[in-house]
Symmetry: C3
Subunit: 274 residues, 3 copies
Amino acid sequence: MYNSSNIIDYVIEAWEKLQQQTPLVQCITNSVAANYAANVLLAAGASPAMIDNPFEAEAFTKISGALSINLGTPTTEQMQAIRISAKTAHENRIPWVLDPVGYGAVLKWRSDTVDELLQYHPSVIRGNASEISALAGSLSQSKGVDSTLKSDDMFQLAQGLLSKASCIAISGETDYILSTAMTCIVKIRGGSHLQPKITATGCALGALIAAYCAVAPIHLATIAAHVHFAIAGKLAYDQAQTVGSFNTMFMDYIHMMDANLIEQYACIELISDD
Amino acid sequence: MYNSSNIIDYVIEAWEKLQQQTPLVQCITNSVAANYAANVLLAAGASPAMIDNPFEAEAFTKISGALSINLGTPTTEQMQAIRISAKTAHENRIPWVLDPVGYGAVLKWRSDTVDELLQYHPSVIRGNASEISALAGSLSQSKGVDSTLKSDDMFQLAQGLLSKASCIAISGETDYILSTAMTCIVKIRGGSHLQPKITATGCALGALIAAYCAVAPIHLATIAAHVHFAIAGKLAYDQAQTVGSFNTMFMDYIHMMDANLIEQYACIELISDD
Amino acid sequence: MYNSSNIIDYVIEAWEKLQQQTPLVQCITNSVAANYAANVLLAAGASPAMIDNPFEAEAFTKISGALSINLGTPTTEQMQAIRISAKTAHENRIPWVLDPVGYGAVLKWRSDTVDELLQYHPSVIRGNASEISALAGSLSQSKGVDSTLKSDDMFQLAQGLLSKASCIAISGETDYILSTAMTCIVKIRGGSHLQPKITATGCALGALIAAYCAVAPIHLATIAAHVHFAIAGKLAYDQAQTVGSFNTMFMDYIHMMDANLIEQYACIELISDD
């Protein structure tokens, strides 16, 4: 059984394995996030590679430790690569993360593709409350690609999605993580209200989840990535309250993370899902 | 009638509306600017979304508060999205900004597309002196995508373009703004000589103009965006004289802008266009 | 004959010419590197333009001072542009740099294209030890796009590649440069162990080599770019030991480079290639 104390030990263990193994993580991501997500992965200890063409997708997914798929600004060739890589990951039991950016009625092309991708059973689906609730079939007032719903109000909706993925992560002021491997819902606090003011932080978090999935069980990997992010965001904000400086410090703390900081600052709560 | 004092009041009003409304701004932009422009818009108070595929362009433009089109590194799919979104914006009276990066004889593909896009009457055309003068049909010694002409020497050329767009903005050491809604030309100073040393600042300015257009009349929106940029550039340079640090501070000041800073530092001059 | 003293004079001369001439450099690069490489070139003194579509490639290469081709995240349209621009550069004696990111058995599409591009005789081929040794026909344990081989152990392999290009540059903890114009191998030290923790630094170095090639002989240009990078990395690390802050300072020092810093910090060794 998990409790907030042994969960922290598992997070530390996952972080240590990430440092030791520096797993290769394939990221198919958007034009806004490409540089940022790669830098977050490098700073965190992983080895990112943004291979997103259909001609090399299968071969590269096969040698990757994990795969991150993000639908922020898809192109036709990326969509082809996404299908190939998701299928390859599924068939080769390589963990993969699906970030359905902007999922909803307006952005039909990507939403239809996301629906189709569910057949390859993503290890983790992560998104904001609007995206997750839309994907869960619920009505959502999505405004573009940013969330207007409180994750507090609707995390239950995500339970239904656990038939499609092993783990669901909803990010917001507070993050919620649900998994088929846990009877509880994990609530993670921390971070900074400045994070939504910096583009691609959610996309980078999706890539970081994938990195942890290469070295730890899916649910613990998802928790570890959120904790890593939340602590870096909290410590960066302690030192810098404006977006440019905060962003520099945030990358610094992603890199400076260690067992002591996790021990000291992780803010994890386990709540019953009844 | 406008004067340099009431213009500042209108700029402050536009800035306040931007904070209150956080408008959704669709940006079809280049691979260099995507992350930077999104971060500038978030820092300034808007909600950017880089939807640039032809399959979602129409639906997304319809729900956007404004549209920014930038031709820095076009792809065939982006070109399709650009045509669809410009047409949709025009038909739905959604303001849109055209940034004809590199317009001229050498870069024929984009230049032909720009010519074609003029049928959808952009709200604002913004560019450097070379681009604007080339688009105005004049001879220009354009060197790649950077300007080699002084905007001081040729802003009159832009007058002719006012039949194609409601507002023309020429950026350089001093920025000039012409509009069908004003009998004067607005001259904005400030910024820093380091800005041309940082890529995509012009592209981000185009996106910021679009953001302001979602909340204020076209000409005042264009002025407000330039003033916002110029003040942030000036204040950043006061604190950091090297490109990396300047860029961090610049983003900080885009975010920290407020009525007092605008009141204190706006450097606007109204000149007769005779 | 070159020695470590007169080589530094040539590097200073190349840097001065870069400042005077601000050459136009066409970069066809990946989605991760586009913004970063453009900022490095601007900070260093060049004028970058990321023209990467097949419709404008020929015309733009013809007016460029140099061309940089990087195969990090190719698209079909970029691949077409790459072929056209490499051919155009070759026919018009415009120097061009080839960065075969991820070259090896796994990433076949790009590797086949690289093989084909060798017919246009790149001025410089630059990469990490894995890429260069794979391209040299040797067996390499390439792990994704990062190097797992020590450049110390295999620089001799690169000699064979000098039939395909005028200059070969292998980057790593220590950089090695081989050229048909020199009987020695040039070894450059400096930089920081944080550089591999920041994405696209190698890609930006490739673009900087191209910028120097527009103003100086190929081998001296390649040496100058590596020295410029290594000094900026060393001085940045003296001031900042975490990735976010280091990266900001690195850009600062790329920009603040001058003859005195080169004189004082260049760490060049000439070794016999026997």
